[in-house]
Amino acid sequence: MTPQQAKIESDRCLQCFDAPCMSACPTHIDIPKFILMIKTSNVIGAAEVVKTSNALANACGKICPEEVFCQSACTRGKQDSPIQIRELHFFATQQEKQKGFSATRRFPTSNKKVAVIGAGPAGLGCAFELAKLGHRVDVYDSRKPGGVPRNSIPSFRLAARELESDTRFLSRFFRFKAQSVDSRGLERIRKTHDAAFLAVGLGKDRMLGIPGEKLKGVLPVLKFLEKAKAASSGVKIGKNVVVVGGGNVSLDAAATAKRLGAHHVLLIYRRSEKEMRVWKGELEEARKQGVEIRFLINPVSIVGKNKVAGMKCRRTRLCKRKDKTGRPVPVEVAGSDFTVEADTIIIAIGQTIEANWLEGIERRGGGYVKVGENFQTSVPGMFAGGDMIAGEGTIVQSVAHGKYAARAIHEFLSAK
């Protein structure tokens, strides 16, 4: 947005009281307030309002799926069209970035030490809030801070430098320990810290469990996306790529494959478009890139001698019965098998927790870590948030987990 566009758009904001956009934002940014500030040309003030509530302000400003959060609730949408809240948010944080971060206040100091394990959105959100509350925070991650947004969200959606402005800003609020944590490490951390927050995300790709998955050319989606993002000169991709899965990550993978030069990218999903849990923007992007999306198809086996040559598929139909997610169950149609040619197959059907050092911490369905309302796990003093507790979510949801878990940790420490 140009300054003039931001001004015109901010002028459209009705300045609702008890604004629904604010409740719809998981981090509860005071949206009418920052928009008023853009309107009065107090853009740095606007950025400060955003950053006060949301630790990953730039990243969320860039890729937050506004259609399911703030903008979906905008009152102005009932009159004509909703305010472009995310664009205004991004405009403000970008302006602040250019000008130089505003100086932050001195925070109180407690004598408490908290360990945050995992430097993704949830971990960073938690560390930031804990620092504001005066606690000393050590953040552990084997990789540079940023988590999923840094490692696997494609650059065309979120460039490294866009996230870096957030991590650079946040780095002053905690001590970063570039080390991975195992069960003994966790024991040590527990002894040296007054509380811990687990936020290592998922990290392990779910596989289909069908014949041929070990063949060369079959790529788990996270590995593929991480490699694509890390490579400076691009990675090699086959001519014919099939992506299995109907989520945002599969769309990211399909669009990435296309951008890497794949001749034809086919995405197959076992249900129909209506059941896809994806952001509109992602679907549009994948289609714009020329990804072919076919619905009601199940993979049966992967064929090939040493490497992938194709995928045997079977048609499905949706029955009336619904699964746990409330979506109709797809059943295979007998005699509908067909084979698609492929030299690369990307499996993108979801992730599970990779960490194998969580012994003694209660899990729930799907293997996710079970937490109470205050984000505390079954182990007292051990809190958790982000995708580990809820499954694949959005950056803003994870930041909110971290933020609200930090409040709970503070209460826990104060009661100690």
Partner: protein, 410 residues
């Protein structure tokens, strides 16, 4: 997961915006004008808790004065889709008995000793003016503001005239008020509806009063229903002139403050059309010591104080100014008479890269300027530098920021 909305932890330091003016300590230049927002104790409490530096309680009068209000009293001047560009009211003074106003002042000063609490008064006879001052001063008011300019008032020399429209009545009444005030400063709230605002300011200065509040609402006829011919706001088809406030009157107030400040050495409380922190900067730069707000609060609520303070803080940082007080009068040396303006040769220049081809500059110049802009096949108009006199109309009708420059020609 749903979370309870928790109060955010402050991330940024709060800049000190406080300074002294009229011997009173102000936390910031932002105070509430005498209006409905300051007529109720709970409302002022809320405003103070949210960060307003002070309030002038809605105008009170002597006991037994019947306040004969009519409803509806509000109306609006909408402009090109914008609501409340100007706001009209046919409100009168507070309906509260003076005892209640005294109680409010006492309570507010006790609960918020650091805030500026002022009383606004209006009366007719000398003894009434003076007893109001005495009672409110003893109740603990930090300042007395005297409304000499209520647009609906009938306390001037002639019916329907405002007190501040008469120099002699202004000076005489101001003297009475000043006599009665023992310790606290007195400000006279004037109207811009006079032939010479400087003469009024001089009369106030002669009276010995401490300050001027410039200025009150603009008398206006808010509109006519073109089917029923009822003036607005329509009270069963009838209406009267309103006092107009809000963004629409800002330039009038700016001129009023500037004109007083350039000619009379007297502190000024600026009011009338300021809605934002930058409006406040403008008011202060032409001589206002503090700025009173009303319409923006009646539109959006007390919460606008957050932006006022934040915007002012960033402005002071950017400008490397130590305090809001440092803004006062900054623009005054730059206001000159027409004779003293620089005579330059100016030509308009359209930036082709920014032009969006609406041709508004073309039609404005053709029909309202000097027919100096020519249409082009590519819709990017061209300025004829021979015919262009540099009036600047095109620049102001252009919808694109910085697309048209006015350049000095050597």
């Amino acid at each position: 997961m749903e979370y309870q909305v928790l109060k955010e932890l402050e991330l940024y330091p709060v800049r000190d915006l406080s300074y002294d003016f009229l011997g009173i300590h102000f936390e910031s230049p932002f105070i509430l004008a005498a209006a409905p927002s300051t007529d109720n104790l709970d409302m002022v409490r809320r405003a103070f808790a949210m960060g307003w530096a002070g309030a002038i309680l809605k105008t009170t009068s002597v006991e037994g004065t019947r306040v004969d209000l009519c409803y509806p009293m509000m109306s609006t001047f909408d402009h090109e889709g914008r609501k409340l560009f100007g706001m009209g009211n046919i409100d009168l003074i507070s309906e509260h008995h003076i005892n209640k106003v005294e109680f409010n002042i006492r309570t507010l000063k006790k609960e918020f000793p650091e805030k500026m609490v002022a009383a606004s008064i209006m009366a007719g006879r000398k003894e009434d003016w003076q007893s109001l001052v005495q009672r409110l001063e003893s109740a603990g008011a930090d300042l007395i503001e005297c409304s000499f300019s209520c647009p609906q008032g009938n306390i001037g020399e002639d019916p329907g005239k405002m007190l501040a429209q008469s120099l002699s009545a202004t000076e005489l009444t101001a003297r009475w008020v000043k006599e009665a005030a023992k310790r606290i400063p007195v400000s006279i709230k004037i109207t811009p509806h006079v032939t010479d605002i400087v003469e009024v300011a001089k009369a106030v200065k002669r009276s010995g009063c401490d300050a001027l509040t410039a200025s009150n609402s603009i008398q206006a006829l808010m509109g006519i229903d073109i089917r029923s011919f009822a003036p607005l706001p329509s009270l069963g088809g009838k209406s009267t002139y309103s006092g107009m406030t809000g963004p629409a009157i800002k330039p009038i107030t700016l001129r009023t403050i500037a004109e007083i400040a350039r000619n009379v050495d007297i502190p000024i409380l600026g009011t009338g059309g300021a809605s934002t922190w930058s409006d406040a900067v403008e008011f202060m730069s032409v001589g206002a010591g503090v700025v009173e707000f009303c319409t923006v609060v009646m539109h959006y609520g007390f919460r606008v104080i957050d932006d006022l303070k934040s915007g002012m803080s960033h402005y002071l940082d950017d400008m490397d100014l130590s305090s809001p007080a440092a803004i006062v009068g900054k623009a005054l040396p730059n206001i000159v008479t027409h004779d003293d303006l620089p005579r330059q040769k100016i030509r308009s220049h359209i930036n082709e890269k920014l032009c969006i081809g609406c041709e508004l500059c073309y039609v404005a110049c053709r029909d309202g300027g000097h027919m100096a802009i020519d249409q082009q096949p590519n819709k990017v108009p061209r300025v004829d530098r021979e015919r262009c006199v540099g009036c600047g109309l095109c620049q102001h009708v252009c919808p694109v920021d910085r697309c048209i420059d006015m350049n000095v020609v050597a």
